[in-house]
Amino acid sequence: MTNGISDTTGASEHAEAHEEAKLLPELVAHLHKHRTELREEWSNRITESHLLSSMTPQEITSETISVYDNYVEVLETGSVEALQRYARDLSERIIPRGVETHEVVSIVLLLRDVLARSLFEKYQDDFGLLGRVLDAYEPAANRIANTVAVSFVDERERVIRQQQEAIRELSTPVLQVRERLLILPIIGVLDNQRASQLTEQLLHGIRTHRAKVVVIDITGVADVDEPVANHLVKTVDASRLMGAIVIITGLSSEIAQTLVTVGVDLSKMYTIGDLQGGIEEAEKLLGFKVSRSVDS
């Protein structure tokens, strides 16, 4: 925090550097002393700006207390690690509550403004001193704002990545419904990556379940593009090489039109209107006969 002196004149440099070193502790002492009123002022500003509307007043109070203390501590020690940890922790708690990035950034900037305003008030009589105080305060404050915002965004991205991972794992279940009959219900957008994951899981599923017939149901797929359609055809071919027949069910009229328009070779595709029909056909291929018991 001593870099604010570079533009001062040579004669007074030494004395001012000495004073500079004392400025920050003085500043911190000031913030400690007026802790309660500054924090309340900050809380009020938060409420006025309609930020953190998803949290209760009690929660806001307790969070603002800890953020304030952390803030002053970073100003004092200059080490952002503790704050980083706290910010990550805080983000973990508030992200599920629907707190947005702009709210977090606004709040930290509000605190920065409240504290700066109080410094203005304290040093308003000595403009030169005020300038040096701000020189000491501003870089630290900016760094804090930066750290909190980055931690929040990092945490957010981590949550998103985790969810993507979860969706990816859930997205292509390979289920056995009868001996040697698998079904693959596909729901949602079928993109390139998901299509290749589907292929991999299907081919390994055929091996582990010793499947002879596989029903891929794409009722829940809104649309496919040409690469994905071609990939589907390749999956069907590869399954055949492993001794399994693939029946595709639930082709929407849009997808059917797309497939015809892009000229995908459909001669080897075994398609049936809906999942029920597909399963019935598969049972027939496998020699199963399903009959209703007499008394039901």
């Binding site: 991999e200 055929i206 390749k234 999956t235 071919d237 590869a238 055949r240 090489l241 492993m242 001794g243």
Partner: protein
């Protein structure tokens, strides 16, 4: 002979244990076609479960083998293609136009169905369905 070719009733069973180079593949192809005549076989099963990779030459050799066997009166089934190999074959656009089955056991069942009754030359699907 690098690949053992065993006789099982009316069928020949050849299982490839290691990757074969091009010359060995051609040799294997000739051996099988020769054995069909010698044993008057009606079907051939080629087990490739031990192969982790198959190049275009390999898959073409297998296809040619299947076609040559048919001319000699025997149907061919390739069994045990690994998932990754299966997709690689399709990905490379190699048209492996032969009967396939999951493993040796399935291959035998399949050949039984194929060779009893007049189902020669039908697609895999037709054989399964009937």
């Amino acid at each position: 002979m690098l690949v053992s070719i065993l006789r099982q009733g009316n069928f020949l069973i050849a299982s490839i244990h290691t990757a074969l180079d091009d010359a060995e593949l051609l040799r294997f192809q000739q051996d099988v076609v020769a054995q069909i005549g010698k044993h008057r076989s009606r079907g051939v099963i080629i087990d490739v479960a031990a192969l982790d990779v198959m190049d275009s030459f390999g898959s073409r050799a297998l296809r040619d083998l299947a076609h040559a066997s048919r001319l000699r009166g025997a149907e061919t089934v390739i069994v045990g293609i690994q998932p990754d190999v299966a997709f690689a074959i399709v990905q490379l656009g190699m048209n492996l136009d032969v009967h396939t089955a999951l493993d040796l056991e399935e291959g035998l069942i399949f050949l039984e169905r194929l060779t009893t009754g007049d189902r020669r030359g039908r697609s895999t699907l037709d054989v399964l369905a009937t």
